[in-house]
Amino acid sequence: MQHYNMNLNLKVWRQKNNQTKGEFKLYRVENISSEMSFLEMFDVLNEKLITTGEDPVAFDHDCREGICGMCSMYINGKPHGPWQANTTCQLHMRAFKDGDTIVVEPWRANAFPVIKDLTVDRSAFDRIIQAGGYVSVNTGNAVDGNSLPINKDKADAAFAAAMCIGCGACVAACKNSSAMLFMSAKVSHLALLPQGEPERHSRVINMIAQMDKEGFGACTNTGACEATCPKEISLSNIARLNKEYLGASLVADK
């Protein structure tokens, strides 16, 4: 792989806090190595801003290896940028070339208010989990792990859904700001397993109710969420969610 250096123009969303209006600001960064990660390029920008006495750009990030779900940049009109099945922190600068202009915005959704610059508040996701995204089992209640054989295909499908990192890219990609892919991943994970069976109906009903309360939009099946998901959570989970919800609505009396 040939490495190269590049100069870039950045158009970055700056917003002091959720009380003030934001705006785009232009920055130039030079001698960016193609081996850098996208966030390392932002580190360079921030070091430069600090030296010149400007406020560095605030952005969420933590593990920088694509698993914690904290990084959240909307890059050139796409959550997490141009690469497929990828998080912002794993995007590397060889995706860009010398002279490019890159537009960087925060996740935009009513349910994800901006805290500062590119940092948003995703606590709505935690509240959705609180509404039922768990198996009610206290510590110490468990029986032997192998006393409950689980069909491998089902276990694998549950795992594929459980891989969701809760980053919110699905919401950011959706024109309705719907959280259905996130919701469906958790509902599917637990609905596919026998452990999730006892609370199957109340879980889906309560989680959907919370999702609506948080102000997420409805799903119109455009599939933008699936296309942008860094963990390739499948749209078929939403179909399962709808089935679960319908089934639960028919039998639930509360």
Binding site: M70, N86, G133, N138, T139, A142
Partner: protein, 657 residues
């Protein structure tokens, strides 16, 4: 005086006896007792959830935007448990023995045996929560091997075991939040322990969004805040992982144990340049199939595929024929460093060795041909079949490698180099996980207790969850049973007043330095000092220099750091400044500890103490103790020794040849 409080009696009865005799708190009293849990990784989330379920009033804190982000989530390979589902001779005793030996005989027998005992309950608990572990076609749980053991006892969920376990604990925690038993404070950082009459009674936390300081009372405080690997600047830890909570506890009187015991993981993606902000691990499981080598010729610049077989040095297989590529982490890391230092390194930086899957691809390819009875197939087809098998086993790791390096590891050998990964040292705790400060506990990687001088793979997840789910629910009650008369303190109490003032004074001082150098630049310089002189190999001269350099760096930091922004606003640079200031002080203590320990053991390799063929030379006669450091003043610590007594296992030289 250090009292480890290991219960008397036979090793295998200690924990049962303890559980049978520890004090209990009745349900009505539990509702009146408040517990603070700092950190929501595996240890913190499992503790907060379990204590909430038991009826305590819990407040949990994390600096991330959600408890689900804690760095436990990045653990890849798996979690050990002595289930013996594979019928390969595993037992609680064997897991205990492997862990003690892997730790190079610097861990407590009592603690480690308890860890091995509760390991089996962890798997049961996680399965009950719906953690989707890998399964066999019969529907039962699957296992794999890890370094330093000869049985298959590692449970896993592809390369995302930490994620799945943490999500399980997180969901249990959120359930308690919904039930009102736990109050969650995300984007909060603990900045001081509040002590009243020698007991921990609360914390000062900073709301990182608004910058305000908050006072929180607790009858007990649990620190579940992870390790301090980021003292090296570059490590596999998350960017936010820090020592601050543990360091504040240290400053409040808690002893810091074995700080020089740090783990360098052998298989990480090498540093590509000065811009590098963190390092990425490639799971230890890759060493099951990958072969590690360097060219036999120094400075060989040919591509890996152009170097013929006879000109390659498979140095681990050469030096350690019995364990080969699966030697424990400390041994594999040192061997890689030795080759690179001797001029055999590869890649542009020459600080890398090859991890090669070509042989495995051929082996698996041929295996598929015979399995599927394909008869005569071309070499290309065999290679393709082999690649498919490797993809199924390690696909996500190979993808990650390609994203970062731009190279396809199915075609060319991976380049890897050791990187800081885990810290065995941490706050000193007794058998009950309490520090020497009453009511102040440390769980998970934040304590020092179970891994000695080197941790075995897939044991960190086990320890975090053991402490949180199965140990603290008992040991905390034993303390709180005597605290039921202690009324919750008003946070207007002078102790809170004073603690808050201390924190705000420090923040003001930091902001008012208004110097010229960024926080990041100091962190980088600290990391370089510690990595060069207190990293994979240490020596007296280097450590003495490092101590002076770190002291000078501290002075420079406190006179020339530049922190932009304001105090009462969202200001990540200010958060980072506080953490780096603590790392600098810890760095000094690490070097002092390494300088004091005149032996080589586990991750601590002192160049003066090695055998003729370069293996670590332990000194059991003089150093079979835990070093617990008490802070006495600036640059001053006093060493307390906790002797390690081996009643069951007879320490011997670790031999993987």
């Amino acid at each position: 005086m250090l009292e480890s409080k290991i219960p008397a009696g036979k090793l295998e009865d200690k924990w049962n006896d303890y559980k049978g005799h520890c004090k209990l708190v009745n349900p009505a009293n539990k509702r009146k007792l408040e517990v603070i849990v700092v950190g929501t990784g595996l240890a913190g989330a499992s503790a907060a959830a379990s204590l909430g379920e038991m009826g305590y009033k819990v407040k949990a804190f994390c600096f991330q935007d959600s408890p689900r982000r804690a760095h436990s989530i990045a653990a890849q390979g798996g979690i050990n448990a002595a289930k013996n589902y594979q019928n390969d001779g595993d037992s609680v005793f064997r897991l205990f023995y492997d862990t003690i030996k892997g730790g190079d005989y610097r861990a407590r027998e009592g603690n480690v045996h308890r860890l091995a005992e509760v390991s089996t309950s962890i798997i049961d608990q996680c399965v009950a929560q719906g953690v989707p572990f890998a399964r066999e076609y019969g529907g039962l749980l699957s296992n794999r091997s890890f370094g330093g053991t000869q049985v298959q006892r590692t449970f896993y969920a592809a390369g995302q075991t930490g994620q799945q376990l943490l999500i399980g604990a997180y969901q249990a925690l959120e359930r308690q939040v919904a039930l009102g038993n736990v109050t969650m404070y995300a984007r909060h950082e603990m900045l001081e322990v509040v002590k009243v009459d020698g007991k921990a009674r609360g914390i000062i936390a900073r709301d990182l969004v608004g910058g305000k300081l908050e006072r929180h009372f607790g009858h007990a405080v649990l620190l579940c805040t992870g390790g301090y690997g980021n003292v090296f600047y570059l490590s596999t830890n998350a960017m936010g992982s820090n020592v601050t909570a543990a360091w504040k506890a240290h400053k409040a009187g808690a002893y810091f144990a074995n700080p020089c015991f740090t783990q360098i993981h052998p298989t990480c993606i090498p540093v590509s340049g000065d811009h590098q902000s963190k390092l990425t691990l490639m799971s230890e499981s890759l060493r099951n199939d990958g072969r590690i080598w360097v060219p036999k010729k120094q400075g060989d610049n040919r591509k890996s595929t152009d170097i013929p077989e006879e000109e390659r040095d498979y140095y681990l297989e050469r030096r350690y024929p019995a364990f080969g590529n699966l030697v424990p982490r400390d041994v594999a890391s040192r061997a890689a460093k030795e080759r690179c230092d001797a001029g055999f390194g590869v890649g542009t930086s020459k600080q890398a060795v090859y991890l090669d899957f070509a042989a495995a691809i051929q082996r698996y390819g041929k295996g598929e041909v015979s399995k599927r009875n394909l008869g005569n197939v071309s070499a290309e087809e065999i290679t393709q079949l082999g690649k498919d098998v490797v993809k199924e086993k390690y696909g996500n790791l190979f993808d990650m490698y390609e994203k970062i390096t731009g190279e396809n590891p199915y075609e060319v050998a991976m380049r890897i180099y050791p990187a800081v990964h885990y810290t065995m040292g941490g706050l000193w705790v007794d058998y009950e996980l309490m520090t020497n400060v009453k009511g102040l506990y440390a769980l998970g990687e934040a304590n020092f207790s179970d891994h000695g001088a080197n941790r075995l793979g897939a044991s960190a997840l086990m320890q975090g969850l053991a402490d949180g789910y199965f140990v603290i629910p008992y040991t905390l009650g034993n303390y709180l049973a005597d605290e039921i008369y202690a009324k919750a303190l008003e946070t207007s109490h002078p102790a809170f007043e004073e603690a808050e003032k201390k924190v705000s004074d420090r923040i003001n001082t930091l902001m008012n330095i208004k110097g010229k150098q960024s926080v990041e630049s100091f962190h980088k310089r600290l990391g370089k000092i510690i990595w060069d002189k207190c990293g994979m190999a240490r020596n007296k001269e280097g450590l003495e220099t490092a101590i002076k350099e770190v002291q000078a760096l501290k002075k420079e930091f406190w006179s020339d750091v530049r922190i932009p922004g304001e105090i009462n606003s969202y200001n990540p640079e200010l958060d980072k400044a506080g953490r780096v200031a603590d790392f600098i002080e810890l760095g000094e203590l690490m070097c002092i500890d390494a300088l004091t320990r005149n032996e080589s053991c586990g991750g601590h390799f002192r160049e003066e103490y090695q055998t003729e063929d370069g293996e670590a030379l332990r000194d059991d006669e003089n150093f079979m103790f835990v070093s617990a450091w008490e802070l006495k003043g600036e640059h001053q610590w006093e060493l307390h020794k906790e002797e390690l007594k081996y009643e069951v296992i007879k320490p011997s030289a670790r031999n993987y040849k």
